[in-house]
Symmetry: C2
């Protein structure tokens, strides 16, 4: 007969680490570096701090078998408040990225899975040193009790912040495979530097190699601002939670206070046109009226599209500069689509096409040079499953005078959103949400048209020269 | 500044339902049918019960907007014990499939996500009727409190089991899109019937169409038996938990009692050759010795390979019959690989190649006809990301005298394991674990060689005829 069991969420992800991208020692090595770097970058550019992130990966004595490494990462971000430290690093599904604004982090899982991997493979505790720039610096030594999903604190020290440190330092051991992961890790830093010219990145690898990307500008984009849900993204659960918080508000005030792009006048017009009394108290709505309201909100065409101030695109100038620096092409075309939404989640698509110069034609048919980014994170896995690749492969390139199998062409795509539709909890690639797919398609075609103009202009010039 | 928050696991999956495969109304419609059918089939063939599963999907009045459906599924499985019902259907990460044997279910999530989808989109409660064949039948009306991940019981009735019902009946409403999901749902039943000739499947769709697959044999494979972990799959967390349960056992007895394929003699030989005292009490091991023990267990070459009695392959005869019935080919070749393991998880790969007859060549280059199964579940999504497709596309088919783009050929793959390395929590496709990839590769090549023999035999016969 069946044995019933409740699984704690930390236990679930420990047993199913494949679902979070930790499915082999080399992949785990990559994931650990990227998850920690992404946390550090969020702590910097999410707070208008010019990032300075330093990672050291060194080989240490193992038990034989898998190779063992020590990772150390230091950043100059906003640090973590004292009381949150054990949970931020020791409790799965705990974090500060559950808000409605663009962040690299989103699940409350990545940093913990990295630390947990060290705990399971190398019996390593994690040492966290942090300060928020105050007079004190705190150091914790932690691990996670997987079966109860609670942090275990072995040590907690407080010291005077003599060096005025602000940020986070994390250290732990884990078993991995840097040899196999190296190319991807180097690529990850390279592509991150490409789109973040305001960041200083330092990586010292187990071979003693120093990878250093200096800051080349002090100009930083405005950090995104938290926003409210858009009515097109509402569902019954969300509406019920909002109403539970404000049961005695009138419908009209309730809508205007809880949703973006809904002022009192818009709320009134919406309610009247859908047969609701604007002055009715929300707690008075019957269940039938609730579901009717959800459908009406999702379908009402006259709400303004979502407010993009919760987003932070790379920007055309920075993207163009980054592509030139990374790929040394002869031609660069960059396109930004207007802000759209899928299920009420605002998103912006930015695309670049680079042509000629140092770019080589593909080495075999069917191969496409594509650099993918999501919320300023380089995506280096599963490219042939990604929506951007599918879009590029489905375009009829003849009409742009491009032979995809022979042209010295490279594509760059960036999707930024309050909720990137990742297919996996390891953020490996982006699912083909119709609204997102459409914007990537339009952006690539727009850029392709512009490229064709540039190429034919150049052909004409060369033609005249030869005559 | 950052706002810290703890997210309940039900809330996490509600907000990230894309990660569980519920990323659009038509996909959700498919997922709901498959998750419920898989639960019913597990409740039958996991207990040597000839399955009789009946699904009815009907259209009901919605609020306008998305189409609304009512789903009803009835099975003749073992039913659910009374005290477990609210949790089995109302608590995320609760189930009976966390054991070390082959089941369709594995995460403790699928049925709940389906029911939750109905709750969120149609404000629907779920009605569960069950009996384990006793004198009583129980009916529950439930929903899930997402923020606390606890079931909410609205109604609980008990009645005399006059009709001697044994099994489960589930009913709820949800918003979906059957029009778009129909082809995949029909295919799902078709392929399930192909490999389960002992199952009776009934599906009545919203158009009133009846899909009926009668049982065509009463022969059923032996249900898999729960086994213990294999030493090659141990990690520190697992070892610590085993030791916490038996702190005063000697190392030798501890290993032989807690692992499969480790008798006391093997344990003694292993311990001595790795410098451990077989009579030492497990609680006496230092942390350093613990990690050394883990590595030694994972690497010791002289443990027998995992015991496959925890697995239940389709079987060559049943697979051959099913392929013939489904595809009406001229030639069928079927291969079973020996039981192997990845990370201590036993798995078996079964492969079929069907050629000629009713099978058509691909309608465009690069397309491959592939039917994938994992733990007897048909996989109908993301085929070009799946390990089986990658293996087939990477084989040099010239040496088997097959032109993949022109041949009337179809492939069938089945991977069964105590833990199928799914890439996503929606079980959409299988990741390319090296050990699994290798077995699929060897199986396909073995079948291809056999096919070539059959084809050249036929060519010779035809040649002789023509002379
Ligand atoms: N270097 C850091 N500086 C400041 N805060 C940090 C740092 N690293 C982690 N944190 C805090 O710890 C939280 C948890 O991090 P974790 O990586 O586990 O999840 P996340 O980043 O929120 O989401 P994701 O799983 O998508 O990465 C973060 O939300 C952040 O508040
Ligand atoms: N039709 C059924 N008959 C008997 N037991 C059932 C049935 N449906 C669900 N259950 C029980 O409820 C549990 C939870 O089901 P659920 O689908 O949520 O998770 P699971 O099947 O264990 O794993 P997965 O998420 O992989 O499907 C099952 O493990 C099983 O014990
Ligand atoms: Mg993170
Ligand atoms: Mg299930």
């Amino acid at each position: 007969s069946e044995q019933f069991q409740e699984l704690n969420v930390a236990d679930f992800f420990y047993k199913n680490k494949d679902l979070v991208g930790f499915d082999s020692p080399h992949k785990a090595t990559y994931m650990i570096v990227r998850e920690l770097v992404e946390n550090s970058l969020d702590a910097c550019d999410g707070h208008k701090i010019l990032p300075d992130v330093r990672v050291t990966l060194s080989k240490v004595e193992g038990d034989g078998g898998q190779e063992r490494y020590h990772i150390k990462i230091v950043d100059n971000g906003i640090g973590v408040p004292l009381e949150a430290v054990p949970y931020a690093f020791g409790k799965v599904l705990f974090g500060s990225k559950y808000s409605m604004r663009q962040n690299r982090g989103t699940f409350g899982l990545g940093g913990k899975m990295s630390i947990l991997y060290g705990q399971i493979t190398a019996n390593s505790r994690v040492t966290i040193t942090t300060s928020q720039g105050g007079s004190k610096v705190y150091t914790f030594e932690l691990s996670t009790d997987i079966r109860t999903n609670t942090p275990v604190i072995y040590r907690r020290d407080e010291a005077d912040n003599k060096s005025h440190f602000r940020g986070v330092k994390i250290e732990f051991d884990f078993e991995g495979d840097y040899g196999k992961a190296r190319d991807k890790i180097i690529e990850y830093f390279y592509e991150t530097a490409m789109i973040l010219p305001y960041a200083q990145l330092t990586f010292i690898d187990p071979n003693g190699t120093l990878l250093f990307y200096p800051r080349i500008t002090e100009k930083m984009p405005t950090p995104p601002v938290e926003t409210q849900p858009h009515p097109h993204g509402v569902d019954l659960e969300l509406l019920k939670r909002m109403m539970a918080a404000n049961p005695h508000t009138s419908l009209q005030v309730f809508l205007s206070k809880n949703f973006q792009r809904v002022g009192e006048r818009t709320a009134k017009a919406f309610l009247k046109s859908n047969g609701f009394d604007p002055h009715m108290e929300v707690s008075q709505l019957s269940t039938k009226q609730l579901t009717k309201l959800v459908t009406a909100l999702r379908e009402y065409p006259d709400f303004l599209p979502p407010d993009p101030s919760c987003l932070s695109p790379i920007g055309e100038e920075l993207l163009r500069e980054g592509i030139k620096r990374l790929l040394s092409p002869e031609h660069v075309v960059v396109t930004t689509r207007p802000a759209r939404a899928y299920e009420g989640n605002p998103f912006i698509v930015e695309v670049g096409i680079a042509y000629g110069g140092a770019i080589m034609p593909p080495d075999k048919p069917g191969k496409v040079q594509l650099y993918r980014f999501a919320n300023k994170i380089p995506l280096l896995y599963d490219e042939y499953s990604d929506v951007s690749m599918a879009v590029i492969q489905n375009i009829n390139w003849n009409q742009y005078k491009v032979k995809l199998d022979e042209a010295p062409i490279a594509f760059i795509t960036h999707i930024c959103s309050t909720k990137v539709p990742y297919k996996t909890a390891g953020k490996e690639y982006v699912a083909a949400r119709p609204e997102v797919e459409r914007e990537i398609d339009l952006a690539i075609k727009q850029a392709a048209r512009e490229l064709r103009v540039q190429l034919s202009r150049m052909e004409k010039a060369e033609y005249r020269e030869r005559r």
